[in-house]
C-alpha cells in the first residue's frame, strides 16, 4: 500500500501448477486502489495465469487472492459473479463473441446483468464505443475489424460494466507503436477519470513506463522484482534490469 488506499488486489503466497509444470510459486504482491501495475516477464512465466487467477477463471493450488477484501479462490456461483462484476478483462486477442456484432458484444452483459432499459443500454454502448473511437463501427462483426479495432472493442466491452479493476492481457501485442500508444492513452484516461485500478500484462516496456505506477517482474514462476519503474530499473536482479532495459 503506497497511496494510503486499501489493496484492490492482493496475492498472498499464491502457487499454481498445471500437472508437473509449476507456473507460479509462492507469489505475494498487492496493488492499491486506483493505481496501475504492469506485470513483465519472459513468455511462459505465469503473467496471463496471474490475470486468470484474479478473475477466478483459474483457482490457485495454494495461497489466497483477495479482491477488495473478498477471498476469491473459493468463491462459486452468485458470490463469485458479484466479485467478477467489479472486474473488466481485456483478453489478449480481445475474445469478442464472433457471432455477435460489436454493439451486441457490449450490450450482452448490460442486458443480462443490469436493469437498464433498451434506450439506456443504447446510450451507454454508444458512449463507451465513442470513448474508444469505434462509434461508427457498432454494426460490424468482429471478423470485419482490424487488430487494433478488435483490441479497442475488447477494451470497450471490458469497460461497459464500469469495473473498479481492469485487467489487460498484452493490450499492445501485435499492434504498431502508434496504435499501441492509443491503447495506452485509453487505459490512462480510464485510470484518471474513473480511478480504475489497472493490472496490465505486457512485453512492451515502453508502454509499461507510461502506464505503470508500479512494475512486477515474474521469472520462472517467481516474483523477482517489484516497485516503481525506477526501482525495478535499479533492481539487484539482473533479469529484471535487462527486461526494463529492453525495447525502450
Amino acid at each position: 500500500m503506497t497511496n494510503g488506499h486499501p489493496p484492490a488486489v492482493a496475492f498472498d503466497r499464491v502457487s499454481k501448477s498445471f500437472g508437473a509444470k509449476q507456473i507460479l510459486s509462492d507469489v505475494s504482491w498487492s496493488i492499491p486502489e486506483g493505481e496501475a501495475a504492469c506485470i513483465l516477464g519472459r513468455s511462459g512465466t505465469g503473467k496471463s495465469v496471474t490475470l486468470k487467477l484474479i478473475i477466478a477463471l483459474l483457482k490457485p493450488d495454494q495461497g489466497s487472492i483477495r479482491i477488495d477484501q473478498d477471498e476469491v479462490s473459493h468463491l462459486e456461483g452468485p458470490r463469485l459473479s458479484t466479485v467478477r462484476r467489479k472486474i473488466g478483462y481485456l483478453f489478449q486477442d480481445a475474445a469478442l463473441f464472433d457471432s455477435l456484432t460489436v454493439y451486441e458484444n457490449l450490450a450482452l452483459p448490460l442486458m443480462r446483468l443490469t436493469q437498464k432499459s433498451r434506450g439506456e443500454i443504447d446510450d451507454l454502448v454508444d458512449r463507451v464505443l465513442g470513448q474508444v473511437g469505434l462509434a461508427g463501427d457498432k454494426a460490424k462483426m468482429p471478423s470485419e475489424l482490424s487488430g487494433g479495432m478488435r483490441k479497442r472493442a475488447g477494451l470497450a466491452r471490458a469497460l461497459v460494466l464500469e469495473p473498479k479493476i481492469l485487467l489487460a492481457d498484452e493490450p499492445s501485442s501485435g499492434l504498431d507503436r502508434i496504435t499501441a500508444s492509443e491503447i495506452d492513452e485509453l487505459l490512462l484516461r480510464q485510470k484518471a477519470e474513473h480511478k480504475t485500478t489497472l493490472i496490465v500484462v505486457t512485453h512492451d516496456v515502453h508502454g509499461a513506463r507510461r502506464v505503470a505506477d508500479r512494475v512486477l517482474v515474474l521469472d520462472r514462476g517467481r516474483l523477482i522484482a517489484q516497485g516503481t519503474v525506477a526501482e525495478v530499473e535499479h533492481s539487484e536482479n539482473e533479469v529484471a534490469r535487462k527486461l526494463m532495459g529492453s525495447n525502450q
Binding site: 486468470k52 478473475i55 477463471l57 459473479s81 458479484t82 467478477r84 462484476r85 472486474i87 473488466g88 478483462y89 483478453f91 489478449q92 486477442d93 475474445a95 469478442l96 463473441f97 464472433d98 450482452l108 452483459p109 443480462r112 446483468l113 466491452r157 460494466l161
Partner: protein, 253 residues
C-alpha cells in the same frame, strides 16, 4: 475400458447438469429460439431430401418382391410403418448427429480455444447456461419435428415411386398407408427422438465445451461429437424400442 466408463460418467453428469439448469432462471428463450433456427430450420432441406429419396428407393426395392407374392396393395402400409416406426427416427437422428453434432462440437471448441467462453465467464455470465443449455434444449425439441418431416417426405417419395409404377391415386395411397396404423405406432417412436436430440446436444456440447487443446481440439471435438452421438443413437434405439414394446405392447407387430 476404465477411460470409457469415466468418459460416460462425465458426459452423464454434464447432461444431468444441463437438464437441471434448463429449469433454472434465466430461461434463455432467445438463445433457444436462435438455436432452434440453426439446428431445426437449417437441417430441414437435408432431412426432407433424404426422406424423399429413401421413400422412393424403398418402394422401388420392396415393390418387386411384394408384387411377386401378390401383395402390392400393402406397399403403402409397409412404407408408412417402416418410416414412422424406425427409418424416420433413426435416420433423422443420424443426419442431425452428423450435421448439427459436428457443428456444436466445433463451435464450442473454437469458442474455448479463442477464449470466448472465458470472456463470457469474465462478464459474470454463466457460460454453461448461456451456451450449452440452449443447444441441448433446441436439439431435444427439434428432433421430433424433423422426424415428422422425414416421415412425411418418405411417404411422399414412396407415393411418387408407386404412382410412377401403378398410377395409384394419392387418396388411395394415404388410406392404404394408414389402414393398419395405430397411435402407438406414431407417438412413442416420434417422441423417442427427444432422447436422441438430448443425447446429440449433450455429447457434442460436452466435447466442444470441455476441450483444452486449442485449434487442434476443434477438429477433434467435431469428429468425436459425430462418432459418439451416432453410436449412442444406434445403441439407444435398440433399448428404447424394447422399452416402447414393454409400455405399448399393441405396437409390437
Amino acid at each position: 475400458m476404465t477411460n470409457v466408463f469415466e468418459l460416460a460418467g462425465k458426459v452423464s453428469l454434464f447432461g444431468l447438469r444441463a437438464a437441471v439448469d434448463s429449469f433454472r432462471r434465466p430461461f434463455e428463450g432467445e438463445q433457444i429460439v436462435s438455436q432452434l433456427a440453426e439446428i431445426g430450420s437449417k437441417s430441414l432441406p437435408l432431412v426432407i431430401a433424404c426422406g424423399f429419396a429413401l421413400g422412393a428407393v424403398m418402394t422401388l426395392h420392396t415393390r418387386s418382391t411384394l408384387v411377386m407374392f401378390g401383395a402390392a396393395s400393402i406397399i403403402p402400409a409397409v412404407q408408412a410403418l417402416a418410416f414412422f416406426l424406425e427409418i424416420g427416427p433413426l435416420v433423422t437422428g443420424l443426419l442431425v448427429a452428423g450435421r448439427v453434432g459436428s457443428g456444436i462440437g466445433a463451435v464450442l471448441a473454437d469458442m474455448r480455444a479463442t477464449e470466448q467462453i472465458d470472456g463470457i465467464e469474465s462478464l459474470s455470465i454463466d457460460s454453461f447456461k448461456f451456451l450449452v443449455v440452449p443447444r441441448i434444449v433446441a436439439c431435444t425439441l427439434a428432433l421430433p419435428l424433423l422426424t415428422l418431416f422425414m416421415d412425411f417426405s418418405g411417404l411422399a417419395g414412396g407415393f411418387l415411386s408407386e404412382f410412377a409404377a401403378s398410377r395409384l391415386s394419392l387418396q388411395l395411397y394415404i388410406s392404404q398407408a394408414f389402414s393398419t396404423f395405430q397411435w402407438a405406432n406414431f407417438w412413442p417412436p416420434t417422441l423417442k427422438t427427444c432422447v436422441f436430440g438430448f443425447v446429440i446436444g449433450t455429447i457434442s456440447s460436452f466435447f466442444g465445451y470441455t476441450t483444452n487443446e486449442g485449434a487442434q481440439g476443434v477438429g477433434k471435438a467435431a469428429t468425436s461429437s459425430v462418432v459418439a452421438s451416432s453410436l449412442m443413437i444406434i445403441l439407444l434405439d435398440v433399448l428404447l424400442i424394447k422399452l416402447i414394446f414393454f409400455i405399448f405392447p399393441e405396437g409390437a407387430l
